[in-house]
Symmetry: C2
Subunit: 419 residues, 2 copies
Amino acid sequence: MIKRTLSNELLGSLGQAVTLQGWVRRIREVSAGLVFLIVADRGGETQVVLSGSLTTQLPTVESVVEITGVVQTSRSRVFPHELAANQLTVLSQAEPLPFPINQAELGVGLDIMDKFRPLALRHPLYQDVFRVQHRLLAHFAEFFSQQGFTRVSTPKMVATGTEGGAELFKIDYFGETAYLAQSPQFFKQMLVGAGFERVFEMGPVFRAEAHHTSRHLNEFISLDIEMGFVEDVNVLMDLEESFLRSLLQDLHERFSTITIAPELPTIPRLPLGEALGIIHREHGKVSEDGNIDPEGERLICQWAEREHGVPAAFLHSYPRHIRPFYALPGVKNAGLTESFDLIFRGQEITTGGLRQHQLNLLLESMRERGLTPEKYEFYLQVFRYGMPPHGGFAIGAERLTMQLLGLKNIREASVLPLM
Amino acid sequence: MIKRTLSNELLGSLGQAVTLQGWVRRIREVSAGLVFLIVADRGGETQVVLSGSLTTQLPTVESVVEITGVVQTSRSRVFPHELAANQLTVLSQAEPLPFPINQAELGVGLDIMDKFRPLALRHPLYQDVFRVQHRLLAHFAEFFSQQGFTRVSTPKMVATGTEGGAELFKIDYFGETAYLAQSPQFFKQMLVGAGFERVFEMGPVFRAEAHHTSRHLNEFISLDIEMGFVEDVNVLMDLEESFLRSLLQDLHERFSTITIAPELPTIPRLPLGEALGIIHREHGKVSEDGNIDPEGERLICQWAEREHGVPAAFLHSYPRHIRPFYALPGVKNAGLTESFDLIFRGQEITTGGLRQHQLNLLLESMRERGLTPEKYEFYLQVFRYGMPPHGGFAIGAERLTMQLLGLKNIREASVLPLM
């Protein structure tokens, strides 16, 4: 079998014959009998020099080629080395492209990007987005494994939603109605109580939100953690902040595209009510439903940047009526909850908090909201057999990718946002 | 906040006061005013000595407790150290259990295990199963990342199945019919062509198979890889074999429950036809459809164990009619395919192979099977713009967990096999 050399491995083979395989990213016909190709592979790009008979029948741009030649030093300012080709085989000839992908910017709208997604993804900017996302997911798994968390994979086909019936996709499950999981919330709590104590999951969740915005996807990757024996919501915020700090260090060592400084100043923590007060005082903006809206999220991050040098804020102490039934009521004020959101560069990327672990109070909270506990017996059961105080949070992987890279639309952070 | 000490951290605190939190796994009343509790936490188990007034109101078995006391040496043969309690708080009192979980074997059927899943999972044997699975997934991600693979997360809601209409769960997608993905097959191929070259995914897949067997789940975790610039199916088998070897070493360093030796002899590779011949010759068993069945899988692994010292076999060169339309026809015999299955301890755990990367031949193959290429344009598009020769495989995570641990039913290898 042919030994393949990647673009980033050429350096070690000066003067030697190697075989390169990749996509013809660019063709420059210098003169009769002299053509430069730029060939892209997963290691980067290589300048290939074609001469003589090799220039008579050129591959089209984006064709897949295999080129054997000798590595030599180059006079190019971009490529210190180049490949002087002896042999060129076209493995797959490309048809004319719908748009060029060898420009510094891709320069097409999201509709065209969606239509020709695999082609658009070949652009180095998008290759980079998903290498960052790969590392983000790897770092999440490594960080929480080190903290004693066990990775779990919970069902995505479920009999009931986590908070009643809204925004659920229906499935036909052998003639019965089932749903796609909006979140692994119940399952991760059950697994804390199942003795794992600390669990994490990295999996798809599904939200049937009909509106299309630059920050919503109907299917996204949720990075969930849940832990037992925690009674102070600050422990959860500490944990998320450590994770983010550790992630930023890791990404900065590997990527130059991260648009946020590696040293993250301490993220301020303030009650939602106080955040709404700041927004009102500074911008005259009044919240109609007692919650913060997307504009408010942008404003509070501007405030945090100015006052604390970090474009992020943990908001906590959300009122009970805007949090789910399982949220633990406030220790000092039972009208509030021991919960939080993390707003990061103007957008919510995390929801978390402590949960109610006492069965009688949990049942009371469900009844107050008109929920029928009998339907949730699969969830409630573990609370009967010894359930520690617990809490957790979930980070949207595409949202975090988007905010780390300064992308404008969340579809740019989802590799194949089909449908 | 209280500093918590885990069971496996007691050793370092001899003579000191510590706080332990966990589940009361066992209660032994030694005499009036002297009770031993065994408390379980994620670090293991601790013997706790209660005396005097602490013995007057005992928690129930499986209650969650917090105990402060002094670490002392013990006369127990099992526990070199124990905790002499000064204070005991019940954080969550357990109701009477439906079955005991503090026995060496759980001793209940799968129906009861399913009904009381979180409780059953507290048994050390099941804690271990999912810690092994955690490490299996971590090792998969680490191994393939090191080989230059990029992790991707592809859609689970899809417009069309990978091989026609069978075994698909239907979804109501805003009034349109969509399906749950049976496999990321098309997507991973598209992403190879999208310039990532090497991708892996660890995510749920969905199969609407109505039959219930000890080896099928309707939803399971598929460990998928796909790579470009591969033209010999042996490269894929080499890669999977290296992964398994590396995984076994890793698991053996951490777990004593793996029931297969860490040094894996070379797994034999034989054409399916040859495997069927062996089964016929040795057991008089004739294949009716030209494929191997579950009994045949057991028999061929017995043969491999006897002849090659390893209870596994790569079967390859499957006939075209029992492989999907995208399988690459055999280089030497076009009636066969460049594909393989890995049979491991009597059960198929992997399907893989080279794929057809030439658009005209792929279209021909689709038409032969009565498929309408127009419906698959989202998949076919990338083949028009430069598609390298490629191939890959998928491992069922629960199947592999089951075979590594010698479990009898695949439901034991799925943490919450609900519905």
